[in-house]
Point group: C2
Chain length 411, copies 2
């Protein structure tokens, strides 16, 4: 058996792949912040201004000089002269002097002279001229200070940050209506196999509809990439090599779902090895389903050969293509793997020395999760559409009993 | 205090809201399956045909009559005459008779006469005419039977199913290239407040940029809705009522972020109560941040009034607007809440009788999750952009110690 046919674990496959991927000099583009959801910042973001830009009241109440409230209580209130009301959205035109107070609303700009706000509940209006203060405040109370959120000049977000609603809010709060992000990675997708026809064609006996390409395209889309679908490639080394060579320079990633037989898989690996160096890095991963997976990098371009059967292909794609897309997307945020511990409803056997992943239905029962494996042959696509997660059986485990707690990876 | 000002829990708010929402007769549209990611099926899907459409080999090997392999072993192999090779994508033109075998590849169509496949590893080709069988098989071995995945006439997916890559694969495997889905819910978004200016305008002293509308728009987008942004509404009952009345018949949901002061919040509730019956259902939720939340249904249209400060607004929106969108989107799938148990790095105090949600940074350390609360005033939007989850402190807990395990809701 040639050296490159040795099986590696999925973690080793990821590591060797990632170690050959250079993510410097990714292309970037300038877009509207409002439409940046799911994109990745390509530059650090600096604040040009303080946020808030002025000291604001955090509560409804009265803007005062804190020293005027010393010792105030219900029985011995401080009496302050009401000099006006801070209008929302305007800089107050008055100054609060000793012995004075001004009505202020949450978010209102603190008037000159004042250094704290007494909340409404601790006051009593006597008339339009005078207010009683029933509790003392100290300087800064109930305020949000100028620059308390962000100071001008500060880096507020780093290159590599994934843009969520939270980031859109922060960017727009600073007036950054346009931002630079990494270009979406372009993923070229090929299905090969003499038995395949496009899903819009009625197959003849012996033929099946190609669903690998559309499944991968939607997965790529959901990970922020741009999928490009290609016509089905026949089981022919020359045809496959021609198809791949034509687009390798435009692709950020190429994914090929190879036929299921050993000969077509070997042919795919052979073709890939001609496309550049170092070529095929992994040929075979020690997981089930998903063993016949090829991982390659050719002259800097990652190429992944997935098993031809759709269920295996999708299980491997979620564990290999998805993290790779995040990497070539420039994303630096730590990823929280969505793993849930759940109690098995059935006994489950496994083979030691191999990581098993079983499609499963996870359900919440009261405070606890229950998980039921969906038994399947790896070609049955509908086993996946009943599943919402994968039970992971590590290589050193030979099985679980009903009632055992197992790890479930959420889709 | 009027009846409707009583605080309710977030669960009660969701329940009362959902109990007033009718999700029958949602609009539907026909779209291409390939572009259906994230949409929700509006009709049950029936299989028009068996899947697989023909009995296929699950392995590389030889198609045989199982009875011809009885008793075969390494020392006493069965000898079969090789009559041909099954070409991928074609119906074999020969029949396998007693004493015969045909070469077959994974996914190849089982020839007439054969009822099992012997895997390659258990055979030995003697010459181009004869093959040795070293292990017996029984009828059905190493096959995927016609109709084993799905039978013609079966319901394969129910109305209300969220379309993921898995569903796209299943639908296209059956040749369903176009499907009916529920129309995306249209969510009209209003920010009100005299202090607000649009984020593309440089604010004067006392003014702040409106970030609530863009944050909500991106959240709505990420949940599969269509956000419609409206110009900022001043703190004026008449202006707000006019703005809402104009669009209520077109909206599937209206979300208003009201000003932060008590008077503008009360004004918002008052305006909403004029728009239809039953009107305001909840005015005030017993969570922090997020207390000043309004939940209403007016003549069948849900209306949510969110706190004016962006952090509170977003925390409530994730817990109220997001599930509501799934409901008015027609989604029936059970939702797995992404809650992770993590060890606190700090002591954390809370007030009993109120559910607290604290933005926090969740990090994986080895096999365990650590979570660090990000201390914040609820107006500081950048506290959220450092967070990837919310620590939940239930109403009956007064605090946690460093090292305690807490529930963290993933963003």
């Amino acid at each position: 058996m040639p050296e490159f046919l040795k099986l590696v674990s999925i973690e080793e496959a990821r590591q060797v792949l990632f170690s050959h991927i250079v993510v410097e000099n990714l292309a970037e583009e300038e877009i509207e912040t409002l439409h940046a959801l799911g994109r990745v910042l390509s530059r650090d973001i600096f604040a040009d201004e303080d946020l808030p830009a002025f000291t604001r009241s955090a509560m409804d109440g009265f803007a005062v000089r804190a020293s005027d409230t010393n010792g105030a209580s219900d029985s011995l209130p401080a009496y302050l002269n009401l000099i006006g009301e801070v209008e929302m959205g305007k800089a107050p035109e008055f100054t609060v002097s000793k012995g004075q107070a001004a009505l202020i609303h949450t978010g209102g700009m603190l008037p000159q002279g004042a250094d704290a706000v007494v909340i409404m509940e601790n006051t009593q209006m006597l008339d339009s001229q005078q207010v009683e203060i029933h509790k003392p405040v100290t300087s800064g109370d109930n305020l949000i200070l100028k620059g308390e959120d962000v100071r001008a000049g500060e880096i507020v977000m780093r290159s590599g940050t994934l843009v969520r609603p939270e980031e859109i809010g922060g960017l727009l709060a600073l007036g950054k209506t346009r931002i630079f992000v990494f270009a979406k990675p372009v993923v070229h997708i090929f299905s090969s196999g003499d038995e395949l026809v496009s899903a819009d064609i009625k197959p003849h006996p012996g033929q099946v509809r190609d669903i690998n390409s559309p499944i991968l395209a939607s997965l790529v889309e959901s990970c922020g990439g741009i999928p490009v679908l290609h016509p089905i490639v026949p089981d022919d080394a020359r045809a496959l090599e021609d198809a791949l060579r034509q687009i390798i320079s435009d692709a950020d990633l190429m994914v090929i779902t190879a036929g299921s037989s050993a000969s077509t898989r070997d042919m795919t690996a052979e073709v890939i090895s001609h496309l550049g160096t170092p070529g095929v890095l992994v040929h075979g991963i020690n997981i089930r389903p998903g063993k016949p997976t090829i991982v390659a990098v050719c002259d800097g371009k990652p190429i992944i050969g997935l098993p031809g059967n759709p269920v295996s292909g999708l299980i491997v794609a979620r564990q290999l293509v998805k993290p790779l897309l995040k990497k070539i997307n420039g994303q630096a945020n730590q990823e929280i793997n969505q793993v849930i511990e759940a109690r098995l409803t059935l006994n489950l056997a496994s083979v030691a020395g191999r990581d098993d992943y079983l499609p499963a239905l996870l359900e919440k029962k009261g405070q606890e999760f229950k998980v039921t494996p969906i038994f399947f042959k790896s070609n049955l696509i509908f086993s996946l559409s009943r599943a919402n997660g994968l039970i992971h059986i590590p290589a050193d485990i030979t099985g679980y009993l009903a009632g055992d707690v197992v790890e479930v990876y959420l889709f």
